[in-house]
Symmetry: C2
Subunit: 185 residues, 2 copies
DNA sequence: GTCTATAAACAGATAGAC
DNA sequence: GTCTATCTGTTTATAGAC
């Protein structure tokens, strides 16, 4: 709270006027970020196309979101894997949980549609979603280690573009049967 | 430190007899875990075979490690993505960094060998390593959310086995060219 | 809405007896 | 090596003036 107060140019006590507790502030921030994520991902799917096209756009949109504000990917990953011991106590937290659930449902539906159409391999959907999260969010949350592994800044525009291509190549060869975009068969 | 003291049945002050600071204790724990990880992954590679066989065993071994002590995956993920602001100040920390570097180098070599042999698609190696970390470690660190997405405990033996299969299927279809295990072509 | 001042609790660490 | 007691600084939060 001290660091936040310094950053925004207020005194620490003033923060408690806007958010009654630290937990409430955290939940509000996470909720706002998830709101943006839900909005953008919904937009990316609304453009239509085949399931594979929608999945590709979904991945691109998610990566764009992670890159837009580097701190968000860290916060997202944290909020995803750190079990909130005070789970669902705050309204902001419940709202965030619902947003997350809808985001996951969207991904589930795209995968299900693609499988029904025969565009996507019959993989286990929940595990595939976990893999998608791991591949997209972890990468941009990986900070120093990520930079060291990649060799340059993971947020450098060129490297972000490469990530998108690599992830989609990975997905296509991993999930897409008889894809026209697959130049290795 | 209070919680650790309670858990191990000591008083808080006694912990400071074994580790001079909290940071030193944390570094020692991370270092010990990475030691186990390095040992097991090295063993899994030493058994030889094709690059794809070694990669598969490497993934299986990493998943076995994450499952052996559920808390380890959380700690691993945390230590990977949270930049240690006091980076490399403690000897345990430097040792842990070196272990991590060797683990990553092993993965890099397997991928490089496989590409040289034409067994593995010519993907970007660093990005592939990031994806491997995301797919294996994030999943087992995902706690409540992971359990909710999957529908049962991510640590249930049956579900762990499924994860191994799904990850390897993902990798094969994503990284392996002309694989005999690929039933979809 | 922001400030100063302060309360109340907690966390990391030390001193020294046993 | 563990304990009790204590110090010191930090953190979350409140009270009340402006």
């Amino acid at each position: 709270m001290s660091e936040i107060a310094d950053t925004v140019g207020l005194r620490k006590s003033s923060l408690f006027h806007h958010f009654r507790t630290k937990a409430e502030m955290y939940a509000a921030v996470v909720n706002r970020i998830l709101g943006e994520v839900e909005l953008e991902l919904t937009r990316s799917l609304a453009k239509g196309g085949t399931a594979v096209e929608r999945l590709d756009r979904w991945v691109d949109a998610l990566i764009d979101l992670m890159v837009r504000t580097p701190a968000h990917s860290r916060l997202m990953l944290r909020s995803l894997f750190e079990d909130d011991e005070l789970s669902g106590a705050l309204p902001e937290q419940r709202e965030a949980d619902e947003r997350l659930e809808r985001i996951i449902l969207q991904a589930r539906n795209v995968l299900r549609d693609g499988m029904a159409q025969g565009e996507i391999r019959a993989a286990n959907i929940p595990h595939t979603i976990q893999s998608l999260i791991g591949i997209t969010i972890y990468h941009f949350a990986s900070g120093d280690l990520g930079n060291e592994i990649i060799g340059t800044s993971i947020f450098a525009p060129k490297e972000v573009e490469r990530r998108k291509q690599e992830v989609k190549a990975f997905l296509h060869h991993g999930l897409v049967t008889n894809s026209a975009t697959d130049e290795h068969r």
